[in-house]
């Protein structure tokens, strides 16, 4: 889950979805949800657009493969639905539920500076994701390139959201060398 420049998540606001277009003639809209459970786009109360000028209550009608079909308060016909196409829907960061001690929102971690355990600053968190084998954090290094770290207590001993810093203890890396493998295979044959 990468932080994009356009949908940058400042400390106060979290983008929970975007209106992708109108649906039908009665003013319903299609919404692409960014929440873990798509229907939770409506779970955190009224949403606003990016500037905060427009405010909507969401009523989810149904979910399908392409996203959600929902009604927004104040959007009563197709013309109004077309007008809100492309609107990003934000909620206040405070509305998200409190988490346990070792739980963190992806959006809180992205952008935090990362320090080596010896105190040296090494980069900034650019991505947090889970590919099926535990959560991993990608760090954009100061001197270019990226490095990925497993989100475990050994590798990431400290996450301090108040002081905005993450401490990593990078594990030793050993290579299972391909070149050696070829030699071994030939020997076996």
């Amino acid at each position: 889950m990468k932080k994009s420049s356009d949908k940058s998540l400042n400390a106060d606001q979290v983008c929970v979805g975007v209106v992708t277009g109108p649906h039908g003639l009665q003013g319903a809209v299609k919404i692409k949800s960014f929440t873990a459970d798509p229907k939770d786009v409506a779970a955190y109360g009224p949403v606003t657009n990016k500037s905060g000028e427009q405010r909507f209550d969401i009523h989810v009608i149904r979910a399908n493969k392409k996203g959600l079909v929902a009604e927004l308060s104040g959007v009563n016909d197709r013309n109004a639905a077309e007008a809100v196409q492309g609107t990003e829907l934000y909620v206040s960061r405070d509305k998200l539920p409190e988490l346990d001690e070792d739980e963190f929102y992806y959006s809180d971690l992205i952008g935090l500076p990362v320090e080596h355990i010896n105190g040296e600053e090494i980069g900034v968190v650019s991505l947090v994701d889970n590919y099926g084998a535990g959560e991993v954090m990608e760090v954009e290094l100061k001197d270019g390139g990226t490095e990925m770290y497993l989100m475990s207590r050994d590798v990431v001993p400290e996450i301090d959201l108040e002081n905005r810093r993450i401490v990593v203890n990078p594990p030793t890396e050993v290579y299972a060398d391909k070149g050696h493998a070829d030699e071994e295979t030939e020997e076996e044959e």
Binding site: K2, K7, G17, Y131, V174
Partner: protein, 92 residues
Amino acid sequence: MARSVWKGPFVDSYLLKKAEASRVSGRNDVIKTWSRRSTVLPQFVGLTFGVYNGRKFIPILVTENMVGHKLGEFSPTRTFLGHAADKKVVRE
């Protein structure tokens, strides 16, 4: 067609050696490998592999329910960059 049972699971021999060495030493090393085709064996549980996806090494902490799958399954080559919203990480 599934692989014949009599052959046993496929693992690159060099990876197996490294994994054994890492397990015996008890250190928390990341074993970086290009061998996406290797099967996860029960003796890999608890080890961390860095599996190459064509661009970078994705760290993978092997757990019991990954046994029998290939390492490559946990290191996607096409990354979908979604959005964070209310998704949460649990540090273990």
